[in-house]
């Protein structure tokens, strides 16, 4: 279990967190590669169904940020 890394699907708001993730890149901040970003136009777009779908598809965690 020690090597276990959670697989994370994140839903990021286009106007803030998605941009922040871009800036993390510009600043060359390093983080683990087990995260996949889905860009949404606003966290208002987020539906519980998306979180459930991600979990059903095998994600260990869902992160919504906006």
């Amino acid at each position: 279990m020690t090597d276990w890394e959670p697989k994370i699907v994140s839903f990021l708001c286009n106007w803030c967190s998605y941009g922040a993730a871009d800036l993390a890149g510009v600043s060359r901040m390093q983080y683990p590669a087990n995260i996949r970003v889905v860009r949404i136009p606003c966290t208002g777009r987020m539906s519980p169904k998306f979180a459930l779908a991600a979990l059903r598809e095998g994600a260990d965690a869902v992160w919504v940020s906006g």
Binding site: K7, V9, N14, Y18, G19, A20, A21, D22, L23, A24, G25, V26, S27, R28, M29, Q30, Y31, P32, A33, N34, R36, V37, V38, R39, I40, P41, C42, G44, R45, M46, S47, K49, F50, A53, A54, E57, G58, A59
Partner: protein, 921 residues
């Protein structure tokens, strides 16, 4: 105009900000952006959010430019953007107006030996603290001390008015306006970051939280976040053990205290930049005694030289919302003198016919970008492109060295045609910067621009997983697969076209509404002013003079005459609004003018409904003619009332109705107005005794000079607390006020002939109007603007704008500036006869709509409404106006019937992305 452009030593058209140069540059220098808290290279981007994101070389430290050796960056640059031969160039411009926005310089506290900023590492400036708090700062938001231990501070003090309100140790007599609020913010954020163990204390003279919602923030800082406030001026900071700091001060009770802190933040003020002072001399514009740009309250963004305008802190210390108001106002002022030149230099874009793809099977083209070595240095780009060819519906996939370069764009457009592609995916950098560019390529190839998708394999992949090329390559494949799955479901989207009625409606004929109307009319737009009263002028008619001593009634008359004589303006007096239909570009309002009904058609509306003074319910108001409000005193002074002339003593009580639990906002104007009135009384009768009973004096900016002048003139200021308010009594016809003096700590009794109550400003509170225009109102009754900082003069609802007291209490100069600002914002719509809106909007399926109304009540932009009950089709169902929709998707996620679809981000597209992300491996 002659301009000098300094060399950047980088060809901006070539630089792709890959950062290879920075990595190899051998020269490290102190980073001024991080106020010396970090180092940067000699070749640099000033900060991560910089626009344009292009590198520059600092000629002061670059080894090549200094000594002629090195050139590492030049050898490495993959696009050959380094140009050491760039020279200073002069540029000649012919312009009709100039706007000055050079900003300010933070005060340098090194010269204060009593605070020992230069010697003690843990004494920092507020600017340094801002960088420490910033997630993109040198400590990534972690607060650590500058001393060698770099420990976490447990106890931080903020010292206010460092370099402001100080004639003793520096020459800045004015208030810097913003420091109280930023110190509060820094203390609250510090506590949020560090947790409850952190002790924060703010040492201040007067707490100046005079902005919209600022007083509530102050209350929360004290009550919710447990920030300590000490009303005192700290005289000395001494070093203590472990690089701690010993602060000596005198408490309000008179007790002398020595207290140890781990860190001290000096809340430094705002000063004029000497370079700007030189420029002002060169271009011959007047400055104030403190080197800020001199302006008139009735033309608040005009400098002394016609055609040159000013905005921001160069005009005087001010915060972000006021700077934004000023900047829009300056744009309007420039527009007023340039209106004849409007549209004379515009070019018409060539339209390429769009290919019809309906019924076609998706044929996706995938372009995977290497971005030089930016992506290819980590991700195996050819493998990703190869993998893309295996994905369903992918017709073509290839890699490019630079997808954004002009020749690649051309090739892409040709490939779209040649391979008959009807969807394009680019795996490269971020859609936030590059989506519009690639969409243009699609348009040029005759494809609808919404048939495009990006996979972010640089910012979200190669740049952040440098040490894991295998995982980064896997991730890139995943992202490409998700993007392709989404693109396959993309449909061509239509952008609705909207014709804008070129007429404006200004609601409220007070001074801000007048300023808005005047600016609109001077820029050539037909404008209607609707005023409930029988004359223009609003509250300004009751005011004697501005803080700068300008006579209000004379200036108001001139403004009124200008408006009455402008043929673009129609004034509707004694008029109310009965109904408003329509939306941005096409409003239809029913007005009632002198009892007769009329209909007005207009493209935009500006709400300038103003406010009025509270009728006080305390301090015996209404029981004695000697007790009056500030405006009533002004009226008496305007009329040269003998009661004022014969008074021996006058008392002012501040915060009457403001900053109280049931009205927790500061009315912003009362302190300055009272100080001004007190001075006027002293001027008229120097032997009069004048007292001002206050809680905090909030004469922000250069208004502070009036406060100083008043004290010098002998006006006596006595402070009281909310729990210890003055008592007003009538004793045998003698008006008596008793309160406890804050310095003597003993009761004081004042017998007075005049008592002026600085009563708070209340908004007009017109609920009907808020409903008509679908705009929100806050709990105090003021309208809520689009954005507290960046959108102060407009609503989230398109086509509706805001200015004056309806937004928040403000003096005449700020009301006029906001009137102009609202006009400026409105003209961004009026200047275009037609507007194209985004194609990514929500749409209802009426067959599935259950008419629950969630979308109608939820939408921040008022886009959904119900189809009228008597309509022939879909009566009572919700529909979404694509013109107002911002495509946020709130309604889509909230619709219980699944009746709403968001084009471009529809459920099936997002699900396709989720399914395509391979999580089981």
């Amino acid at each position: 105009m002659d301009l000098i452009q300094h060399p950047r030593y980088i060809d901006e058209t070539k630089c792709i900000a890959c950062g290879a140069c920075e990595e190899k540059c051998p020269k490290k220098v102190i980073d001024p952006y991080n106020i010396g808290l970090a180092k940067r290279k000699s070749i640099y981007v000033e900060y991560a959010q910089a626009v344009p994101l292009k590198y520059a070389i600092d000629p002061e430290s670059c080894i090549m430019l200094k000594k002629g050796k090195c050139g590492a960056c030049q050898k490495l640059c993959p696009v050959d953007a380094i140009d050491f031969d760039q020279k200073e160039t002069s540029v000649k411009l012919e312009v009709g107006a100039v706007i000055l926005a050079p900003g300010f310089k933070p005060f340098d506290p090194k010269r204060f030996d009593n605070y020992q900023y230069a010697k003690l590492p843990n004494v920092v400036t507020s600017m340094e603290f801002e960088r420490l708090l910033s997630a993109s700062g040198p400590t990534q938001g972690h607060i650590s001390r500058k001393s060698k231990d770099h420990g976490d501070p447990k106890k931080i003090a903020w010292l206010q008015c460092v370099g402001s309100r100080d004639m003793n140790r520096c020459d800045n007599p004015y208030c810097s306006s913003v420091c109280c609020m930023y110190a509060l913010k820094e203390a609250v954020i510090a506590k949020e970051h560090a947790g409850d163990d952190l002790e924060c204390a703010i040492f201040f003279m007067d707490m100046r939280t005079h902005g919209k919602d600022f007083e509530r923030y102050y209350d929360a800082a004290r009550e919710k976040h447990g920030i300590r406030f000490e009303r005192t001026k700290v005289h000395t900071i001494n070093p203590a053990a472990n690089d701690n700091l010993e602060m000596r001060y005198i408490k309000e009770s008179g007790e002398s205290i020595s207290e140890i802190f781990d860190m001290v933040v000096l809340s430094v003020g705002l000063e004029a930049n000497p370079a700007v002072t030189d420029l002002a001399k060169k271009i011959n514009i007047d400055l104030t005694d403190n080197q800020f740009c001199n302006t008139n309250s009735f033309s608040p963004v005009a400098t002394s030289r016609p055609g040159i305008f000013v905005c921001g802190a160069f005009q005087g210390p001010k915060d972000i919302p006021q700077s934004v108001v000023d900047s829009s106002a300056a744009a309007a002022a420039a527009g007023e003198i340039l209106s004849t030149a409007r549209n004379s230099l515009t070019k018409v874009e060539e339209k390429i016919p769009e290919k019809n793809i309906s019924g076609e099977r998706p044929r996706v083209g995938v372009f995977v970008c290497k971005c030089g070595i930016n992506i290819a240095g980590v991700v195996d780009v050819p493998a990703v492109a190869e993998y893309a060819t295996t994905l369903p519906y992918v017709e073509y996939a290839a890699d490019n060295l630079y997808s954004c370069s002009q020749d690649t764009q051309k090739t892409m457009a040709e490939l779209v045609k040649e391979k008959n592609l009807n969807r394009v995916v680019v795996a490269a950098c971020t859609p936030k910067t590059h989506e519009p560019l690639f969409q243009e390529t699609l348009t040029s190839a005759g494809l609808n621009k919404y048939l495009f998708e990006m996979a972010n394999i640089r910012n979200h992949d190669s740049w952040v997983h440098k040490n894991n090329p295998d995982l980064a390559t896997e991730k890139a494949k995943d992202l490409v697969r998700a993007a392709v799955s989404k693109a396959v479901l993309a449909e061509p989207l239509k952008e609705s076209e909207l014709t804008v009625n070129q007429t404006a409606l200004v609601i409220g004929g007070g001074i801000s509404g007048m300023a808005a109307a005047q600016s609109l009319a001077l820029q050539g737009y037909k404008t209607h002013i609707v005023e409930r009263d029988d004359q223009l002028g609003g509250q300004a008619r009751n005011i004697l003079q501005t803080a700068k001593g300008e006579n209000v009634s004379e200036n108001l008359q001139a403004m009124t005459a200008g408006i009455e004589s402008n043929s673009n303006i129609t004034i509707h007096l004694n008029t109310t609004i009965d109904d408003v239909q329509g939306f941005v570009g096409n409003f239809k309002s029913k007005i009632n003018e002198n009892g007769s009904e009329k209909s007005l058609e207009h493209g935009v509306a500006i709400i300038a409904t103003g406010g009025h003074a509270l009728v006080p319910e305390e301090y015996l108001y209404g029981q004695d003619p000697r007790i009056m409000t500030s405006l009533e005193l002004d009226r008496k002074m305007i009329n040269n009332d003998p009661d004022v002339a014969k008074a021996q003593t006058a008392v002012f009580i501040q915060c009457v109705g403001s900053r109280e639990p049931n009205r927790p906002y500061c009315s912003r104007v009362c302190c300055t107005h009272t100080v001004d009135s007190a001075l006027e009384l002293k001027k008229r009768k120097p032997e009069m005794s004048v007292f001002v009973l206050y809680r905090d004096i909030r004469t922000y900016g250069e208004r502070e000079l009036l406060y100083r002048e008043a004290r010098e003139a002998g006006v006596i200021f006595i402070r009281f607390g909310l729990e210890n308010k003055p008592q007003v009594n009538l004793e045998k016809k003698q008006l008596c006020i008793t309160l406890t003096d804050h310095i003597l700590n003993r009761p004081v009794r004042i017998e007075t002939d005049l008592l002026t109550l600085a009563s708070s400003i209340l908004p007009a509170r017109d609920e009907k109007l808020a409903v008509f225009f679908k705009v929100p109102v806050n709990e105090d009754g003021f309208y809520i603007e689009r954005h507290a900082k960046l959108g102060p003069s407009e609503f989230a609802t398109d086509g509706v704008f805001l200015c004056g007291l309806a937004h928040y209490p403000k003096p005449i100069d700020e009301s006029i500036a906001q009137g102009k600002a609202a006009a400026s914002r409105a003209i961004t719509l009026l200047a275009r006869e037609t507007i194209f809106t985004s194609g990514q909007v929500a749409e209802t399926n009426p067959a599935m709509c259950s008419q629950c109304g969630v979308c109608v009540s939820l939408c921040p932009y008022s886009a959904p409404d119900f189809i009228p009950g008597d309509a022939r089709m879909n009566a009572g169902k919700a529909q979404i106006n694509p013109v107002l929709c911002k495509g946020c998707g709130l309604c889509v996620a909230s619709c219980r019937s699944g009746a709403i679809h968001l084009k471009g981000f529809d459920n099936d597209q997002i699900f396709a992305q989720i399914f395509a992300i391979n999580m089981v491996n």
